[in-house]
Symmetry: C2
Subunit: 339 residues, 2 copies
Amino acid sequence: MLHVAEAARVSVATVSALINGTATVSPELSQRIEQAIRDIGYKRNAIARSLKMGTTRTIGLTVPHITNPFFTDVVSVIQQAFDRAGYAVMLCCTDEHLNTQDDQIRLLLDRMVDGLIVARVGDGAILKRIVDDANVPVVLLDRVCQGVDTDAVVLDNQRAVFDAITYLIDLGHRRIGYISGSFDISPMHDRMAGYREALQAAGLPAETELVRFGNFHEVDGYNATMQLLSLHDRPSAIFSANNPMVIGTMKAIRDIGLSCPEDISVACFDDFPWSDVFRPQLTTVAQPVQAIGEQAANLLLDRLAGNRDAPPRKLTLKGRLMIRNSCRPPGAIAQSVSA
Amino acid sequence: MLHVAEAARVSVATVSALINGTATVSPELSQRIEQAIRDIGYKRNAIARSLKMGTTRTIGLTVPHITNPFFTDVVSVIQQAFDRAGYAVMLCCTDEHLNTQDDQIRLLLDRMVDGLIVARVGDGAILKRIVDDANVPVVLLDRVCQGVDTDAVVLDNQRAVFDAITYLIDLGHRRIGYISGSFDISPMHDRMAGYREALQAAGLPAETELVRFGNFHEVDGYNATMQLLSLHDRPSAIFSANNPMVIGTMKAIRDIGLSCPEDISVACFDDFPWSDVFRPQLTTVAQPVQAIGEQAANLLLDRLAGNRDAPPRKLTLKGRLMIRNSCRPPGAIAQSVSA
DNA sequence: TGACATGATCGAAACGTTTAGATTAGCGTT
DNA sequence: AACGCTAATCTAAACGTTTCGATCATGTCA
């Protein structure tokens, strides 16, 4: 900017005023300055500007897995929204790893992001401290966090799973395996609650042997399913509480020589683009990814626009059961085994 | 830092020296300073540091689509690599849109990223100018660009498609539909060349009616497939040059009342995690995503480590044909699945 | 004992902006 | 002619670091 000012024979203040439109600059000087800017190929240095202004027009976004299609879609929507608003997005994947998450959030805060959208991992205590320290607005995505009192966008997980399990029960299933993600994040709690609630509403017992836990990865789903299928009295249907794990479920079913939906019914959380075209077409709980991403972005943009003092807002969206053909009434095979 | 210095009764220079280890600080002062840092909860301001140092320890990464599993996986690997190296990653999705890409790269450069990894879109001329202007290292990913002479990681696309098409020919197919992405990016060129080469090697004619173009999206694959299937003499196999488009292909096949692989064989570029478990299990060309991501990261990290003047390096990796059961000899109805 | 190398510490300038407040010029009032 | 008002422009101080060169004890050697 100094060079531009010299070339145009004006002060840097005038150059700044012209660029930002913060003061009127005479046509004559404007022209000289614009010419100089072109000649020199000047670009404003956003770092220096950030230092002075105390804002970077950048937000941080952390998600557990970028390969999980749910997060992929949401990230995409969020990215577009902030793009439109002139913000850059720093993306971090925590890989469901607690330390990584903490480090990355600190990294983002060091870089003075103006705001944070966090699909958190693990225990909330550290997150709480970090969020309290940071004096930037934070929006929690998908996973809320006791004690962290801030804006959030979540799904009505309990209701969504209740609907799905009830659907299975209505088909005639009595023994329904349930594969949960690890329990330290809110959705897994709520989804499990939905499972239990549905069983109870139908007067079915909650048998612990039918519930397995995994760490969200395909391999966890595989192992969990293997255990469920080797039970003495094995379930006639399996519900997987997240998407990558259901792939493991399908692989386990295949490897054990069964097939879906003939021998066993399968449903899962999170829809994905392929569910429609391949067989079996999976029955899933679809999250409104577009809305989730947009709402999260809007919450943060609203705070960034200055609305700092409004009380925390928690938005709860509804999932939708996408009934396809991976579930059937329990068949002869399942019956005979259980008899 | 000023507050820390005051609290510890030292100068800011000493605080800086201690934090960065750039000079020896007596144990006594070290202790006072560390105490003050803890008391105050001081965090170094990375923006001010960047301004002074001229480096942000942040890189920019632009991809066309984050919902394409190929890019998702590569992004994930790159993100991890830079994470390990202490860099942050700014991710931008250009949505295959040229203007968006140019804007976003400018945005990234304004923010003084230390380097750039670009899976480019569209004509290279503007990109070339941007890259020349930016005096940061740039690595091209997946898509090279005539005239832009910089590091790159690409696939041997021609060979990969040659292998895939030859496989179809060996199965007995003579009319093989080919759905290409738009032609302004290098991989689509090379993949098409592989298609033509395979036909030629087998002495088959290159019929233009069998080749369709789309813009990488599912809907484009759908339309292209509809056209191919309504040909008077319709193809017995279809190869889709990218992954999202093949979903459209499968939907079109379903909607028109055919089934794969009984009535028509399908193969495509880019593997995805589901290909193994759902039917038909798609035969795909798998890219070595892990290697691609790592190599791209390494090329850039090497430049960032100071190796600026080495001549541009272009790494070409090999794809792998994953033969599953979405392709059969033409007209072979109800043959038992063996592969 | 004086000269001098050594090691620890500090003062101050610089990075490239923004902006409050000072300065100046032009012009209409009285 | 002196005055005040407005609009345009400039000066200079920040923002929070890093770093160069200066300063100042302290111990070593001739």
